[in-house]
């Protein structure tokens, strides 16, 4: 694995900063009632998206995810404008206002969607793996899911099929310790979630998802191994969300101390410290990037707010494909 | 103060009215008591007088349009008066509010009929339809054909009128239809739709009512007409033109006299009693191109033969001219239907409700008869058939009446003596 260059480090940092500021702005817009429905923020988990998705062949390898899906398409290259417009349900959104917070899609980026049924996307990833195998492509499919998805039947069915047919799928459990408001330790008998793979004689790995450099390095190895062997793998990605499950979450299930302890390992601060220590950037650079990112986020909000609503006569568009 | 003119009820059996034509145009002066419109009832077309003097400011129901009874048909007032205001005031006063709108169907040419002479229950306009059960298709077909669904007995569940009931009434398939195996309607190309006149509708309704409610039985007797015809021939040769009489006049005369002797035949079924009439008001069926009319010779049993002949001539002319008035065709107590002049030797007639009987008269035919000595002779014979409503008349009573009738016909002197 080639070590990330300084330019890549800057890129990683700016990607995570954009994710952080974008999600913070989403939270503000939500409480201002600029949009409604669901809003599952990614704050705290940025290193997972940045570290993992920079380790794939963007636009070629496939990525599919659950409903905490605002940030991954941005890492893949989607503009903040398209995501924000989708948040606001506008016709310029990445799903033309039909999907919303949980359903970001991009055919071009091979981002196969945010999906709203816990575990429902896991068999879909097996299907993508089936296509890669059938067409003998040199590609992989990444499948993100929350920790609670591993208790769904479809998760097991999909892992079983991926294992028996050697489907090149990297199944990634983003273990942020809570399935909605319930600690995963209360709903799963395993201490190591990746041990689910043992039931299917599947490769497994546990990855530190709080440090983007670790994440990138480990995921790069895993992805390339999968590409080479077509053997699927179950990755437990250790991470933490600083915010509630959704905007309406009072977070009574965890202590403030726990949240503060996690915040002390904030992926943004960790990378910043690394870059300063290694002379990659100065405080001025970080201030400049903060300003830059702030402009990108504000631009996305203005764009989304000024974008037109989908027209009523288009209501039947996209029900059936021609 | 404007006056709203309503569709008058001009006969007991009238269920809706039609304007045949307005005699005045909108804007013309009208005078109270002078004819302003011709109304077509189920029986006749009659002039109807203006209820007020002034200007005919609005015609609501135009020529050839029908409407419910008592629905407003015109507004009469001062030339500059607002007819809409007057109509609104009239409607709000009238319980139930809205005026019944004119219906689109055009009635057929006016004629008159006395198929019905009986009083009928008063009819509530418009709302009756709400209580009718009819399939949507039956309603549509009935509306297309101008058939009043109220005249139809439904054969479906809960008396629902279904399309076959409408078609049975009109005797043809209105839609690509169904129903009875073995029955297939003629292709549409081979038929012509004949619109129903008010008269035709009334005949249909009354006769269906008669056959479905009055249990009929029939008695036939053969009469030797030789002596009577010889007497008539000799007599009319001697009298003036005004005093001449037909065989039909003779029949009316003699039957009336016989009925006086048998009041149980000259009667009617009234549901909770039987009405026996003291006078004979003789209905005489007259065939017209548009249908059947039955003008009534009042007090026929008290008129002389010459008077009967004159009255018959007068009524037939009125009938042919479509000028019969309700008094001319209502209140009959018995009916004679004579198809003898058409060469029909014998037939049965349907009773004209609520009368209890009708006499069907065939033609007089030279017939070989075995006489008392066992020899065969040729006689001029006429066969008459009495249709009786068994609710009123029993077989023996009918037979007694026919025996009297035979005696009067074969021996007119006996009529003088007995009648």
């Amino acid at each position: 694995m080639p070590a990330p260059t300084n330019a890549q480090l800057v890129e990683f940092y700016k990607d995570m900063l954009l994710a952080r500021r974008f999600e913070e702005r989403c939270g503000q817009l939500y409480v201002q009632q600029k949009f409604s429905g669901f809003c599952h923020l990614y704050i705290g988990q940025e290193a997972v998206s940045t570290g993992t998705l920079n380790a794939i062949r963007k636009g070629q390898d496939y990525v599919i995810s659950g409903y905490r899906d605002h940030v991954q398409p941005i890492t893949l290259g989607m503009s903040a404008r398209e995501v924000m417009a989708e948040m606001l349900g506008k016709s310029t959104g990445c799903a033309s206002g039909r999907g919303g917070s949980m359903h970001m899609f991009s055919q071009k980026l091979r981002y196969l969607g945010g999906h709203g049924i816990v575990g429902g996307q896991v068999p879909l990833a097996a299907g993508v793996g089936w296509k890669i195998r059938s067409m003998k492509e040199d590609l992989v499919c990444l499948c993100f899911m929350g920790d609670a998805a591993i208790n769904q039947g479809q998760f097991h069915e999909a892992l079983n099929m991926a294992a028996i047919w050697d489907l090149p799928v990297v199944f990634i459990i983003e273990n942020n310790l809570y399935g909605m408001g319930t600690a995963i330790s209360r709903t799963c008998s395993l201490n190591v979630l990746a041990d689910r793979a043992k039931g299917y004689a599947m490769r497994q790995a546990v990855v530190d998802g709080r440090n983007v450099l670790n994440t990138y390095a480990q995921m790069y190895e895993i992805i390339e191994e999968t590409r080479k062997t077509n053997k699927p793998i179950l990755v437990e990605m250790q991470t933490y969300r600083f915010r509630g499950h959704s905007m309406s979450d009072p977070q009574t299930y965890r202590s403030k101390e726990e949240v503060e302890r996690e915040r002390s390992q904030d992926c943004l601060q960790t990378l910043r410290d690394h870059m300063v220590a290694n002379g990659v950037a100065t405080d001025d650079d970080f201030d400049k990037w903060e300003e830059e990112i702030s402009e990108v986020v504000e631009d996305s909000v203005v764009f989304a707010e000024e974008s037109p609503e989908p027209e009523l006569h288009t209501i039947y568009d996209h029900v059936l494909a021609p | 103060m404007a006056t709203v003119m309503e569709m008058p009820k001009l006969s007991d059996t009238m269920k809706e009215g039609a304007v045949a034509r307005w005699l005045k145009k909108e804007g013309e002066k009208v005078t109270a008591g002078h004819p302003v419109v011709e109304i077509e009832t189920d029986k006749a077309t009659m002039e109807f007088e203006s209820p007020a003097s002034g200007t005919l400011i609005k015609i609501i129901v135009g020529d050839k349009q029908t409407c419910d009874l008592n629905a407003p048909i015109a507004v009469i007032g001062k030339a500059d008066e607002n007819w809409q205001e007057a109509l609104d005031k009239y409607n709000s006063k009238k319980k139930g509010g809205a005026a019944a709108p004119a219906k689109a169907s055009a009635p057929a040419a006016a004629t008159s009929t006395t198929v019905a002479a009986a009083p009928s229950a008063s009819v509530t306009p418009t709302s009756t339809l709400d209580r009718l059960r009819a399939s949507p298709l039956a309603k549509r077909v009935a509306a297309d054909k101008g058939i009043d669904l109220r005249s139809i007995q439904g054969s479906g569940p809960n008396g629902r009128i279904v399309v076959r009931d409408v078609e049975n009434l009109t005797g043809g398939a209105a839609t690509s239809s169904v129903a009875v195996p073995g029955f297939s309607a003629a292709p549409a190309a081979e038929m012509e739709k004949v619109p129903l006149s008010m008269m035709r509708k009334t005949i249909a309704r009354r006769l269906v009512e008669s056959t479905s409610t009055a249990p009929h039985f029939y008695l036939t007797i053969s009469i030797n007409m030789g002596p009577l015809l010889a007497w008539r021939k000799a007599t009319i040769a001697k009298v003036s033109e005004a005093e001449k009489f037909s065989v039909n006049d003779l029949i009316v005369f003699l039957v009336s006299r016989a009925l006086r002797k048998h009041p149980n035949i000259n009667s009617s079924w009234q549901n909770d009693f039987i009405a026996q009439y003291n006078s004979v008001h003789m209905g005489v069926a007259v065939a017209l191109p548009a249908g059947l009319v039955t003008p009534v010779v009042r007090h026929a049993d008290k008129l002389s033969l010459v008077q009967i002949a004159q009255k018959n001539r007068e009524l037939i002319k009125l009938a042919r001219d479509g000028k019969l008035q309700p008094d001319d065709y209502s209140g009959g107590t018995f009916t004679i239907s004579n198809l003898g002049m058409s060469g029909i030797e014998e037939f049965t007639a349907i009773i004209n409700p609520p009368q209890a009987a009708i006499l069907a008269v065939g033609s007089t035919v030279a017939t070989p008869v075995v006489n008392e000595d066992g020899d065969v002779e040729v006689e001029q014979r006429m066969r008459v058939t009495l249709s009786c409503d068994h609710r009123v008349i029993d077989g023996a009573q009918g037979a007694e009446f026919l025996k009297t009738l035979k005696t009067y016909f074969e021996d007119p002197m006996a009529c003088l003596f007995m009648g």
């Binding site: 496939y62 599919i64 959104g93 799903a95 033309s96 206002g97 039909r98 999907g99 359903h103 899609f105 991009s106 055919q107 091979r110 196969l112 969607g113 999906h115 709203g116 049924i117 429902g120 896991v122 068999p123 879909l124 990833a125 097996a126 299907g127 993508v128 793996g129 089936w130 296509k131 195998r133 059938s134 039947g153 479809q154 097991h156 069915e157 999909a158 079983n160 099929m161 568009d317 996209h318 029900v319 059936l320 494909a321 | 399939s135 949507p136 298709l137 039956a138 309603k139 549509r140 054969s155 479906g156 279904v162 399309v163 839609t175 690509s176 169904v178 129903a179 009875v180 195996p181 073995g182």
Partner: protein, 325 residues
Amino acid sequence: MAVISYREALRQAMTEEMERDPTVFLMGEEVGEYNGAYKVSKGMLAQFGPMRVVDSPISEAGFCGLGVGAAMVGMRPIIEMMTWNFAIQAFDQIINHAAKMYYMSGGQFPIPMVIRGPHGAAHMLSAQHSQCVDHMLVNVPGMIVISTVIPADAKGLMKSAIRNNNPVCFLESEMTYGREGEVPDGEYLIPIGVGDIKRKGEHVTLVAWNKMVYLALEVAEELAQEGIEVEVLDPRTLQPLDENLIFESVRKTHRLVVLEEGWGISTIGNYIVDRTVTECFDELDAPPARVHNHFVPMPYNETLEHEVLPNRERLIAAIKKVMYR
């Protein structure tokens, strides 16, 4: 034109399409080595190999979801459900994923996929193996639902279904896999959404599909002896439904009977009656009648099963009722 069985017609359609398009594959329980639970896919493994005729684990939700994912990235899966009863396991994939994907992605990800298998009651299979789900499926926008057991229709519609760019639920019947009929050779496509008059008649429109078409035709012949000419209309596609064909027929006959399997509540029959009464109100001479299952789980006992299912006796009674006979 060859006379072949219904299962052969389905196989012919799938085989021809798999020869034509390398992205088409068949996956399901026992479709390969076992030749299919009902021998529909007999011989296909030998012809196409294990990457295109795929024996799946008994994981209906799993392999149905696999089909959805494969379809998202350009494959054209045919997912065989051993029966539609088992497909209820996969309803999350069918309803939440397959049917919604094209819409909620704003038109970016069509799902060209066929989910097929026998549907409805067979014979003494009892409560969990005798269900009708057609009315559940037609209630979901974003899918096509085809239900046919006539060999020629099965071939023409299966080929159209495989080529269609949407999820197509294809409902078959165990009871009719062996029934034969004339089927055109080679390229034969029937457009989706077009119904067919199986028997002309002027007195009553009888709408029936799947194996009920056979019952409808038998009863129609029987009633013709009594002078009642029944028009048997097979919509073939249930979503979208060929409503106009039904309306045209009812405008001619003025009477409607719908014969369907299933429990009769919020069903396709309900919908057909609703639409017909709305569109043809003035044409109707009788309230439409419906014949469907009794509202009970399917009993095992043969006599009870016959009574629960729509049968000849109840169909004749319904037709006579709308005829006022």
